[in-house]
């Protein structure tokens, strides 16, 4: 071996470059849909207000729910609306569409890791949605309803890694749902079902702390709770110390399981895959 090979930092840069490129392109791709972004913000904000008023009416009757006040719940609702697109809660069929058309064959031939490639794509998209679809409904809700800016600096610091983990868990679940396209002709039903389960269990239809204790314990153990509910509760300052560590641990454990399952399923599909035509 010649000693003049590329240095380790260069090698890392070369290895990471394609994924970084995919991320930035995905970000820019979504940044071009300005009309759609504006329309989406209007809709998310509207839903935020409807839910916020309804849940506030519950707080009016019973005071605090668990350890959460009416202000917490309102903040939760607008944050959760902001999480919707970032965590792909309405599902996507990017991968399964390519399976259906056969374009997947080209994807599998690329000298990059298939799962990491799509993860990079998803993170680029999520970064755009965090800025364009996440912050506006949240900001509008807080300003219109005159709520205090939530979270201490420490809470924001704890919130950010939990959010990145949540976005990645959501990706890992959608990756699995999309791969079902290798076996099913029509994945739309599967994707829609996974989407609605996510909406309910991640806390978009109702905050998890409104659920009866026993059901809540089960829901919180699912990977979906780590997508939206847990990060937002961290932001509200409701999860510290042991609870915070338990949330991180649960998120990481589910992430490893789900990404691992995705890899295993992809390996299986790759072995069975027959590309037609030529």
């Amino acid at each position: 071996m010649a000693p003049a090979g590329p240095s380790t930092p260069t090698r890392i840069r070369v290895a990471v470059a394609p994924y970084l490129a995919v991320s930035t392109r995905a970000f820019r791709q979504f940044a071009t849909y300005r009309g759609a972004t504006f329309a989406g913000v209007v809709t998310n904000t509207m839903f935020g207000f409807i839910y916020a008023f309804v849940f506030r009416a519950v707080h009016d009757e019973v005071g605090m729910v668990g350890r959460f006040t009416a202000t917490d719940t309102t903040t939760f609702v607008f944050a959760a609306q902001g999480f919707l697109l970032m965590t792909g809660a309405f599902g996507d069929r990017d991968i399964s569409d390519r399976i259906r058309t056969g374009d997947i064959a080209a994807d599998l031939y690329r000298p990059v890791d298939f799962q990491l490639w799509w993860l990079a794509h998803d993170h680029g998209k999520a970064a755009f949605h965090a800025l364009a679809r996440g912050i506006p409904p949240f900001a509008i809700g807080l300003v219109v309803l005159g709520l205090p800016f939530p979270g201490s600096p420490a809470a924001w610091l704890a919130f950010i890694p939990a959010t990145v983990l949540g976005v990645t868990i959501a990706f890992a679940i959608r990756f699995l749902a999309n791969l079902s396209g290798f076996w099913l002709l029509d994945v739309r039903g599967v994707v829609a079902l996974v989407g609605i389960v996510q909406l309910l269990l991640a806390g978009h239809i109702v905050p998890l702390y409104f659920m009866p204790d026993r059901i809540q314990a089960i829901v919180r153990a699912t990977p979906f709770a780590g997508i939206t509910a847990h990060p937002v509760e961290i932001l509200l300052g409701a999860r510290w110390g042991g609870e915070l560590l338990a949330i991180y641990a649960g998120q990481i454990a589910w992430l490893l399981i789900l990404l691992g399952a995705g890899r295993a399923l992809l390996g299986r599909a790759r072995r069975n895959l027959v590309i037609q035509g030529g």
Binding site: V42, T43, T45, F49, E61, V62, R188, A192, L193, M211
Partner: protein, 284 residues
């Protein structure tokens, strides 16, 4: 053939145009149903998914009532009545004209031009050719909740209240359908803004599943004067369930839904026609 292609040229033009429109809708819709039926498994999976989605939708309301006995002084039974009525009306609206929301996509990719060259009203063509019975999932679930709500609520049944239930569902479906057409027509003015309509169709359907007096005033005004969705469920429900609203509204509003439905049809027709006249194709 000729008079079907140009109904406005025939005698008794108005009535004939209407029957031709309805006939065209039924013809296109039944063709679509037959084509869906060719993929029975896919259809069944979808219908099942749609049922589960809608059941989950009600779980949200049921969860709230595990914490509280009443919401804005209404019981779960009473809110279920609102939810069932709103769900049925918006479900029927979605079934009949919901596909109109594809207008935005069709204008963007130019396929709306193709519809304009056909000898059938463009609105009929747009809504009927994408008619799908999969949307029965929503209607089925809402109908079940509504039936249960009728049984569990202590309703003082009179002939007037019986008629009011039917009028509520009829007028409500018309108001919901008109809302769909009006919000979809925004696409004639603003490209690629399909989701704005969802704020008022799906968002509106969600809002009027709850007693609207829990909302702040600006939202109530929006739901009364801009998109008068309070006439779909809340106001008729006050009469049918025999309860007073803390908003102290005049009584005649409880029976005004058919008038509002008529006005909404006029507005929807005007907005659609204006949009259509303004449309110049996106070209490329």
């Amino acid at each position: 053939m000729a008079d079907r292609a140009a109904p406005h040229l025939g005698p008794r033009a108005g009535r004939q145009a209407l029957t031709t429109t309805v006939e065209a809708y039924l013809l296109l819709a039944s063709a679509r149903v037959r084509s869906d039926w060719q993929y029975r498994t896919s259809f069944a999976v979808f219908l099942f998914a749609s049922l589960v989605i809608n059941v989950f939708d009600f779980v949200g309301i049921a969860v709230l009532f595990t914490k509280t006995e009443t919401l804005g002084d209404w019981s779960l039974d009473q809110v279920a009545f609102l939810y069932g009525a709103a769900g049925l009306c918006f479900g029927i609206g979605d079934l009949l004209v919901g596909s109109v929301e594809n207008l935005s996509t069709k204008i963007k990719d130019g396929s709306f031009d193709v519809l304009l060259t056909r000898p059938v009203n463009a609105l009929v063509n747009l809504t009927a050719s994408e008619f799908t019975l999969r949307r029965l999932g929503k209607i089925g679930q809402a109908a079940a909740i509504f039936a249960i709500a009728l049984a569990v609520n202590d309703i003082d049944w009179t002939p007037g209240r019986g008629v009011a239930v039917i009028v509520m569902l009829g007028a409500g479906s018309v108001i919901a359908s008109a809302t769909w057409v009006i919000t979809a027509s925004i696409a004639f003015w603003l490209i690629n803004t399909r989701e704005i309509g969802n704020a008022f169709t799906y968002g509106g359907g969600l809002a009027i599943s709850y007693p609207v007096h829990v909302f702040e005033q600006w939202l109530r005004v929006l739901l009364t004067f801009i998109f008068p969705l309070v006439f779909v469920s809340y106001l008729p429900a006050l009469y049918i369930l025999g309860i007073d609203s803390p908003l102290a509204l005049p009584d005649f509003l409880r029976w005004s839904s058919p008038v509002v439905a008529g006005a909404m049809v006029l507005v929807a027709t005007r907005v659609w026609r204006r949009g259509l006249r303004r449309y110049r194709s996106t070209g490329s």
